[in-house]
Amino acid sequence: MKTALYASAAVIALTAFGTNAAFAQSRDTIQIAGSSTVLPFSSIVAEEFGATFPEFKTPVVGSGGTGGGFRQFCEGVGDNTIDIANASRPMRDSEREACAAAGVTDIREVQFGFDGIVFASSAAGADFALTPVQVFKAIAAKVPVDGQLVDNPYKTWNEIDPSLPNQPIALAIPGSNHGTREVFQERVVTPGAEAAELPEGLTDEEIEAVETTFRQDVVVEIAGDYTETLARLTADPNTVGVFGLSFYDQNRDTLKVATVDGVTPSLETVAAGEYPVSRPLYFYVKGQHIGVIPGLAEFTEYFLSEGMSGNGGTLEGAGLIPQPAEVTAEVLANFQQ
């Protein structure tokens, strides 16, 4: 018993000293966090990077949503802060200020491609051909009827528009921690509200309230990832879910996609700019960590290479919509400044 006690004490002491010594050396693995939409792409590049460059370690990719990623990114400069924040929307001014306040001043934005946002329903259900105004009328708490703002009276889709199926309205949309939510708001709900012809004489604040207040009874906000949205659809086949195009693409056997303004979302229609609900994807590199964390610049350049995010590259196979080569060249030039 006694020897066991001494042994444990020795081990504790060793651990304490051992770890102290280890912290003195700096981290040699790139640490990434942020958007769950970007995560699959980022992880694939990380793995390929580790396999191709024998001298660098495979970067570690965490999730947490775009907002969560920026929060970690802006915690400061140093070993225990992340090097790259993945984002499905550009960084906000408030986030830049938070970053600057913590000493993160050299932030390099890298745009590497596009993603479409799709409405999908259970493969066994009815077909949907949606327009932004129909989506707005389905989810807004107050909608204009005969020039008056009234509490949303619609129960089924065909009450909004006879062309839609006779199916109870139920929508699963991404929670506010997701960058997807912002794009959904900007590209679908706001144009929908404008097209719905709100009554005259509303102040800007009132209009914003109408555009951002959703019915709680039929709209579910999903804070987790797309699998959670998919689980909702399986539980209630009447639900229409909001997904990333790449997620839908891998689950075409269970999901059916809706057209928006008559355009079917696909790699081609998003790349051509025909499908209205798409957004650029980004990652942000902490400039102050370049040269400190080995491989950071190489990783960024590898990410932007033709074989990865270019036309016909590895990421296209995983559902990324490549951006024109000129845009990539410009982004790379800005990064290397």
Partner: protein
């Protein structure tokens, strides 16, 4: 005299008989409820286990593609590997070798895989390059390249090699995706599906035990090769830290509190707080860990060290409480006998009391560790839910843990492939838990017999 007794006895008997039916009924009812409760409880557990087993067992088998790969010099235009020249320093040679390896990595290995697949396909089978490459997993080119990098003399030769079939191929072969769906809903193109069926018939695609589940780390670019090795090592490091820290600290504080500490208001407060700590939800420890270990002590993110410390905090109260209960249970006769023989208090505790409580402390420790092993929530908060494609060599390397890996796979977008994989990972975790608990029971019964 006796008459009245008889009468009252008869009366009493009558009274008892009248109530007998009701008493039997209550007893039968209670037994019935008891059985019902057990059936329900076992039923739920049974449903859970059958579901996990039904989904998970097929994931232990994996489709492999057996190919004859030719290292065709026409396809692989590469200089011979550098040899260490006389007088060349080791550093120079390493640099030259690294540059050569980089060049090898930049070659288009997919051409080699494609040629091998086409050779295995029937003559004149029409399928384009992109479609035929969807049959093997994307890591096939790395496997073939590694063989070449290790042995550059392979150039111009043909070797037989087993490659993993892609996740989508595996889904198709196992029927995880509905085979009757139309082309638009399938992941694989029609020619690729036809070729897979041919390969299955001619023995190019076979089913084998999924060793990759245990020998590989997590992967997103090659889902079929995703394994648990990284998570297992992460869990191992964390459990090591928990055992090394929580057991001596927990047992030590329990002994002091129970045997040596004066009974005062302060010890009362400490006791109440330890009991409260045991009831604190694990997510709170996670928040605490993120604030203290990551932000204040500046421990690395996603490292088993931080995770192990958080889990230690969580396990400590369990061990303290169990050890104290065990110490309380030791008969006073033993203590008095030891003290009566002139033993000091320390001798009494360490030579006589503690050995008797050893089985209980051991059981509590193992159960505490098993609990910590299955804990997920606090680990999410210290960044252990990151995608890590490397085996952690030390406790300060980034890693993930077994339960977190289950959480991550459950969120993977390739549902058809990862649903079974997730269940397989659950089975691995459960196997560990059951083993740990079995060891606890075995040790307890053995040691108790001896004590």
């Amino acid at each position: 005299m006796s008459d009245t007794t008889l009468a009252s006895a008869a009366e009493r008997r009558k009274l008892v008989r009248a109530g007998l039916g009701r008493r039997h009924l209550t007893e039968r009812l209670f037994r019935g409820f008891g059985i019902l409760a057990i059936v329900l409880a076992l039923g739920f557990v049974g449903i859970l286990f059958t579901d996990v087993l039904r989904k998970g067992i097929p994931a232990f088998m994996q489709s492999n593609v057996h190919l004859a790969v030719t290292y065709d010099p026409e396809l692989l235009k590469i200089d011979p590997a550098p040899e260490q020249a006389a007088g060349q320093s080791d550093a120079d040679f390493r640099a030259a070798r690294l540059a050569w390896e980089r060049k090898v990595a930049m070659l288009n290995w997919n051409n080699v895989i494609e040629a091998a697949l086409r050779k295995a396909a029937p003559e004149g089978f029409e399928i384009d390059a992109r479609q035929i490459l969807t049959i093997t997993e994307t890591d096939a080119r790395h496997r073939v390249r590694e063989r070449f990098a290790a042995d550059p003399s392979l150039l111009g030769q043909t070797i037989e090699i087993d490659l993993l079939a892609s996740a989508n191929t595996d889904n198709w072969v196992k029927g995880n995706i509905d085979r009757n769906l139309g082309d638009a809903q399938q992941q694989l193109s029609a020619p690729a599906r036809a070729l897979i069926d041919i390969f299955e018939e001619n023995g190019t695609i076979t089913q084998g035990f999924a060793w990759s589940l245990f020998t590989n780390v997590d992967s997103r670019s090659a889902p079929a090769s995703a394994g648990l090795l990284g998570a297992l090592m992460g869990t191992f490091w964390m459990m090591l830290i928990v055992i090394v820290l929580a057991v001596p600290l927990g047992v030590g504080s329990a002994i002091y509190l129970e045997e040596f500490a004066p009974k005062s208001r302060i010890t009362d407060i400490i006791e109440v707080n330890i009991n409260n700590l045991a009831a604190v939800p694990s997510i709170v420890f996670g928040l605490l860990g993120a604030a203290v270990f990551i932000n204040w002590f500046r421990l690395p993110l996603s490292a088993p060290l931080a995770g192990g410390l958080v889990l230690t905090l969580m396990t400590l109260p369990t061990i303290i409480i169990a050890t104290r209960a065990a110490l309380k249970g030791v008969s006073p006769a033993l203590r008095q006998a030891a003290l009566g023989m002139g033993a000091s208090k320390t001798q009494m505790v360490f030579h006589h009391v503690l050995p008797v409580t050893f089985p209980s402390i051991l059981t509590a420790t193992i159960i505490g560790v098993a609990q910590a092993m299955g804990e997920t929530a606090p680990l999410l908060l210290i960044g252990m839910n990151a995608f890590v494609a490397a085996v952690p060599a030390t406790p300060i390397d980034q890693a993930t843990a077994l339960p977190v890996q289950i959480f991550l796979w459950q969120g993977n977008e390739n549902r058809n492939f990862f649903e079974p994989r997730t269940s397989a990972a659950i089975m691995v975790l459960l196997a560990f838990m059951i083993t740990l608990n079995a060891i606890a029971i075995f040790l307890r019964s053995r040691l108790e017999k001896r004590a």
